[in-house]
Every structure is written in C-alpha cells, then in structure tokens.
Subunit: 456 residues, 2 copies
C-alpha cells in the first residue's frame, strides 16, 4: 500500500460486513485523493484541446486525447465507437445595444444551433418582455419587424439551481420561434445564469419547422440589468450581426470507451460516463471535462488498487451531448445490437464540485438496496439519495434496455455561473472537489459490482 | 411580501407545526437569496479596506466600515467594544533558495507573530526534515547554524480538511522554537496548504520563552516540491531576510456590535459572529470577511422580513481572532461584568462556502433538541449536526459563562487553498454560497429564538 496508515484488506474477496465496506471505501478514497490523476488530465484536456464542439477539429483532437488517457489509466481495452454528429459553426458575431443615446458593443453569444444573420447587420427596435405571458399579450403589430428581448431572470430563490435552470431554460430553447411567429426579426435573451457577472451563456436552442429561423443571442446579467433600465424608459435600437449556422452535413465522430473486464461476471456491464464535446466557449472544464476525467479516474483507481471487479466496468466519453446526443444513441444502439447486459449506467455531468448525492432512476426496490448503504457515503459528504436522476447520455440506454440509471449530484451553487460560458475553464475547477467526485463514483460502482445491487 | 409566490405567514406568532417552521425557513431563504446584501458588503470590505491585521490602520478602517454596515442593516443599536490588541508588522522580506546551482527568489511569507532577521541577510545551509520525529533524531551538530526546512505535507487524504489542518498546524505553531533548541538560525516550512498551487500561507506561530526567537517563513507547495528534490540530493543554501516584528505596545481597537432587541425576552441574548481582523495578505475575504458580512446579513434579513425575534440577537464582528483573541475575551468579560444571559453563541469562521452542517458544543439534551429539527435544514443542504464545534471568538464566552456554542460548517474542500494567503480575495467567494451560509445561520437563530431550544 502506498498509504501506510491504512489497514490492508484483501479486495478480491466478497465483503460481508459494513466495516469491511467502510475500509474499502477508505482505500478508494485515499488512492484518488492522494494519487489521483484526474486533475492533471483535466489540465491537459483544457489547455491542449480547449473547447470542442461536436464535429469540430478540436472535438477530433479530444477523441485522440481521450483514447490516450484511457490507455494511460490502464484500461484492459480501449476503443472508439462511431457516431455521426451535427456541426454547428459560430463564426464572427456582434451585438450593439443603444444605451444612453449611443450604440454600445456588448458581450453576447449566439445560441447553439441557431441561424445567424448571414453576416448582415440587422438593425431594429427592441421590445422587452419579462416572460412568455407578457409576450403572448402583445399584438403582432407590436412585435413585427422588431428584436424581442426576453428578459427572464434565473430564479435565485431555488436552492437546487437545476430547478432554476429547468424553470428558465425554455427562454433559451424556444424563444426564437415564439418571437418569429409574430414577425420578429431577431431575439436577445438574458442568459440562463446565476452569475453576479456579465458572462453570456450559450446553449442549445431549436426552431419550429413552421417558423422563420431568426437569429438569437444571449447577454450576461450585468448587461441585461443595464439594458432593462433602458427598455423601461423607451424602445431602444439594437444592431445584431452573426454568421452562425449548422453545417450541411453530419461529421463522423466517436465515443471513447475504456473497459476493465469483469473477473466473475464479465457479461454484466456497469457504465460510467461524461461527455467529451462542449460548447465552443471557455474550455468545457466543468461541462463536462470534469465528468470525462472522473470517469477515466475510476479505471485508473481500480487498476492502481489491484481491484478486480466482478462486473465489467466501462468508462465512456460520450460525444455530442450538447446538441444531438448522437453518442448516447450510438452507445445504446450498440448495446441493443450486441444484446449486452447493462446492470447500471451512471453519468457525471453536473460539474466537478463537492459531491452531495447520487440521483437514481430505477425501480423502488433497487433504490432501497442502494439506500441501505447510505451511511457508508456520509464520511465523503454524500447524503442525498432522493433525486430521480440519470443523465442525457445514458438515457437512450435507459429507454431502450431499461437499464437502471444514476447520476452524481455535486454541490450546484456555482454550476450556472460557469455553464456554457467563457468562464468554464480549468482554473475554476478545484482539485479536491473534482477528485472527491471521482471517489464517490468509484465507491458506488465498487459497491454495485461487488454486491450486485442492481442485478437484473 | 416581495416574493409573490410565497404564502404570507404571520411571523410574530409562535409557530406550532413543522409545516409552519418550514415556511418560515423558506421566507428567510428567499429574502437572503433574492435581496441579500452580504455579497455587496463583502465587496466593499475587500476592495475598500482590504486585508486588516489587528492593530493596523486598515483594521481601524474596517471598524468604521463595520459600524456603518451594521447601521445600514437596520440594527436597533450599534456600538464599539474596546479591546487592546497586539500589532504584528511584516515589513520587507525575501527568501532565496539554492536551486540548480544558483539562488532563486521564491514566494514566501514570514509567519505571523514571528521575529524577522532585523533586515539582515541570514545565509545558511539547509537541512530538510519531513516531521518532528525525523528532527528529534538529528544530533545538535547536524542542526546548529543551519536553516531547518520542515517539509511536512498537508494530508490530502482527510476528507474533512480541518482534520488535515489540525494534523499539520503544529509545524506552523512550534517549529521555530523546536529548531532553535538545537541551534538553528532559521526555519522554512511547507505551508499548511491543500492548494495545487504555490501560494505561501502565513498564520500564527509562537515562541517558547526559553528559546531564541529565530525567523520562520512559509513556502507554497510547488516551491516546496521543487526544493524537496534539491534537498534530497544535497545540503543546499538559503538566504533569508525579513523585518517582521511585534510592535512594542498594544493598540486600542474594537469589536463592532449590532443588535436587534428581543420582543419578549430581550434579556436572553443570541450572539452570531465572525472576526473582523485578518492576516496581512489577500483581502481576508474567506477568513473572515465572509463571516462578518453573514452576521450582518442576519440582522438585515430579520429587519427586512419584519421579524421580531423573542430574544435579543447580536451580530458581533470580533477583533483579533488571528493572533490574540482579545476581542473574544473582551466580549466575554463584558458579558460577565454585566451579568448577561447568553442562550447561544454561533460563529461563522470557516469560509463563505455552501453550508453542510452546524457543529455544536453544548449539553447532549440541547443537541438533541436541535437535531429534532434537522429535516427542516435538509432543503438548504445542511445535514451534519455531528461535529463538536464552536469557534475561537466565542470560546471565552463558553468558558466563562458556559454558553451553548455552535459553529457553521460549510463545505471545506477549498478553504485551505485560500486560508492566510494572497488568494483569499473577494473573487474567490461565490455569491450564492455566501448567501446560503447566511440563510442557514438566520434559520438556526430564528429557531432558537422562537422555540427556546437553548433556554437555560
């Protein structure tokens, strides 16, 4: 043992007591907290690849990185699984808002998947609404030919910020088509952001087939606050210019998969994964570099500790979570085609923060089996097993094969400060928090592999 | 109510059901998460006062700031409570280490309270030890005339980082006198740091009366790692120069106290506090600007909500926690002299991170009364009531008047990255985490005030 103060215990044996489980948990924790390489891996991913939107050359580079990192972690087998993904391209863009009687260039980001202005400048009056109800009450004449500013605030009163996100995100997803239905020529939205800052947040939007595809851009909270004051007084002007568009053809890309073969029941598969693609801003450190390096860390820790899990453990770096889920679908399709027996899939895609819980989307009796072990997780800060949760990459597996799903729930207070922004960089990830998330994932997977909690 | 979606409930009435408590908790949370001013207050403290070591002009400025902030929060009464504090002055300092055959100037900080080299350069051979046991085994001849490098690593395997700190901090507190006993001329320590970075951490040390007062400086983890490699190969040289010293006379300073008078039992006092002084680096944002602004926020939130607590609530910004606890002593002395009836004192001095628990240092039956209410705190991420804990500023109150004590326990993963460093700045505090800590403090205090949990 590297860590002399620990009692060495035989890991290959079936554990029978909670005291033994507790020691196993401790061994996993010590290995990762003391010798974990996930933080260093994240630095490499962020600083040598950077952001990596699906279909881009950077995403291809990330695949190469992932393959290498899986091999270095000691996976028994590493392979690439093809997935054809959309490639949305941003290009140049700018937004100017009329403030104090003159145009001011502001930080703004076109929303992902959106169609820009073909590089032409759109200048129009701006009409501000605070929500869809206000917008619905407007006559077509008030909207036609204008740019609509959807100034909906992320509700900071939700303690679980994903609830605030769920509440607000409809203004990102649907506002362009809603506005186009009344003849708007463009949309500006207040970002889905908890930030006390001015970072604009991009993210997926979608057009209705029936409406015109008008440009839509997000602005940060500070700019939105300032522009709100302007709009309260008069109907100001805005100038919007963007080149973004979806490329005509899908691009061949890949999930990166690394595996440790099960020692007793190799046909039973446990999947742990995050997504390798990111939006085309920042470095995709939290979303979801963190989940990728944590998944790889599980393999490394098992190998370093000489653990021989009964079941097969697969770390999967899914491609294209952000705007298509093509990787998740390819993984599920392959599992169906090969008649694979997946006993659990767990996703880590909520940032590299201190873990607090494990969400579960599975039958009540399976949940209860997990909850029986909850005291084991308490020393690692994990106490919440109440959330119904998996993850988008693994959801096709859940749909097609009814695989029990779980998701790591880290502390969520900071996530929507960084999510889909230029602030989502390596420096905003804390090494201990990142590692601790990997510890809890590894402990959970170990438990399921050895105790057969999820056995079908 | 500012927040329309909430059911208005009468706050002045005694609550009888847990559902009502839950609504009260929600109201407090909404008020602070939506309208809290603690984050803005912290910005002002950090950016207009900055670091503020006891006795310094900056500390005096911080007292003025605190008085103003308490009044703005709406306290019924604000006053200053005198405390005579030591004033340790750093001055110029430098450390050069022989690396790769030549001297390299490294980031280093003299430890607080230490006596420097009077501005003279001390050049000496360096002997590295990893812990006190190794040092004890050395003969005097191996140490005399040398600079000792105590290269003890902060143990990253402790999940609760305060345990790692407790384990390591003896090398900060005592190593100078230990080394001086064998004739060392100076000491370098590896900082008490979890950081994957190179920030040196200062903090209190103390000399034994019987030994020579030799200089002692801390270096960051990256420098310590590099220097360790050098020391493994040879006995290198170091050059140390510093001017730090304790000023000859104490300085008159103050605790800042703001109070809301109790509506039914004003003689019963609940104290909530943090400390206003900091080390003379960074901005004292986490340690303990966060605790100060959270304490002030309690008063503001009670006033804004029109809560009329049964008991008197006092927010106290204690002076001189870092190197003397003179403020804490003055507060307790005054309480004794005035025969005050303190039913609870709670300290917030562990950083403005997401809250996870409330530690308690009180009788078992009082603890059990609190724990009865624990489910109320769960939606706010607080689940841990197991730690035996108060805080240094309130401990004299506990000692002299047997006051039940408590301490807010936020997530501790990042605290010792920032603690006593130039990285302890406003930008490293997250606004939601800071506010959420204030929410939990306010909820706890509300419960105690209304339900009389701690009634003596």
């Amino acid at each position: 043992m590297k860590s002399g103060f620990l009692t060495a215990i035989a890991f290959g044996l079936t554990l029978t007591s909670s005291a033994q489980d507790s020691l196993s948990f401790r061994k996993i924790s010590d290995e990762i907290m003391l010798y974990g390489t996930c933080y260093d891996n994240l630095r490499v991913l962020c600083k040598t690849v950077g952001h990596r939107i699906s279909g881009s050359p950077a995403a291809a580079k990330a695949v190469t990185w992932g393959e290498k990192a899986m091999k270095e972690a000691g996976a028994d087998k590493v392979w690439l699984q093809p997935a054809d993904v959309p490639y949305w391209y941003r290009g140049e863009e700018s937004l100017q808002l009329m403030m104090d009687g003159k145009y001011k260039k502001v930080d703004a980001l076109s929303l992902g998947n959106s169609q820009g202005s073909d590089g032409k400048e759109i200048e129009a009056q701006v009409i501000m609404v605070h929500n869809y109800d206000e917008f619905k009450a407007l006559p077509v004449t008030a909207v036609a030919g204008k740019i609509v500013f959807f100034n909906y605030r992320f509700r900071q009163d939700f303690i679980f910020t994903f609830e605030g996100y769920g509440d607000a995100v409809k203004y990102r997803g649907g506002s362009a088509s809603v506005a186009a239905e009344k003849g708007a020529v463009g949309v500006i939205i207040r970002s889905m952001s908890t930030g006390a800052d001015d970072f604009p947040h991009t993210g997926a939007m979608h057009y209705k087939d029936s409406t015109k595809r008008i440009p839509v851009m997000a602005i940060g909270n500070i700019t939105a606050d300032a522009f709100e004051k302007v709009c309260d007084k008069r109907t100001p002007l805005a100038k919007l210019k963007s080149q973004c568009h979806m490329m005509p053809n899908p691009v061949r890309s890949y999930n990166v998969i690394g595996e440790i073969k099960g020692s007793e029941t190799p046909e039973k598969i446990i999947t742990v994964g995050g997504h390798l693609d990111s939006w085309d801003v920042g470095e995709g450190a939290m979303d979801d570099g963190a989940g990728c390096v944590q998944s790889i860390e599980i393999l490394r820790a098992f190998k370093a500790l000489g653990l021989k899990p009964k079941c097969t453990i697969r770390a999967v770096l899914f491609m294209n979570e952000e705007n298509g889920q093509k990787g998740g679908q390819a993984y599920a399709d392959s599992a169906v085609a090969k008649h694979e027996n997946h006993i659990l899939a767990i996703e880590t895609d909520a940032g590299g923060f201190s873990p607090r819980g494990i969400g579960m989307e599975m039958s009540q009796d399976k949940k209860e089996k997990v909850i029986k072990y909850k005291d084991l997780f308490l020393p690692y800060g994990v106490y919440d097993f109440t959330r119904e949760e998996g993850g988008s990459d693994i959801s096709p597996l859940g749909e097609k094969l009814k695989v029990p799903m779980a998701g790591l729930n880290p502390d969520c207070q900071r996530y929507f400060d960084y999510h889909h922004t230029n602030a989502d960089i390596f420096e905003n990830v804390n090494h201990r928090e990142l590692k601790l998330g990997a510890v809890v994932l590894a402990q959970f997977i170990y438990l399921v592999s050895e105790q057969g909690l999820m056995d079908k």
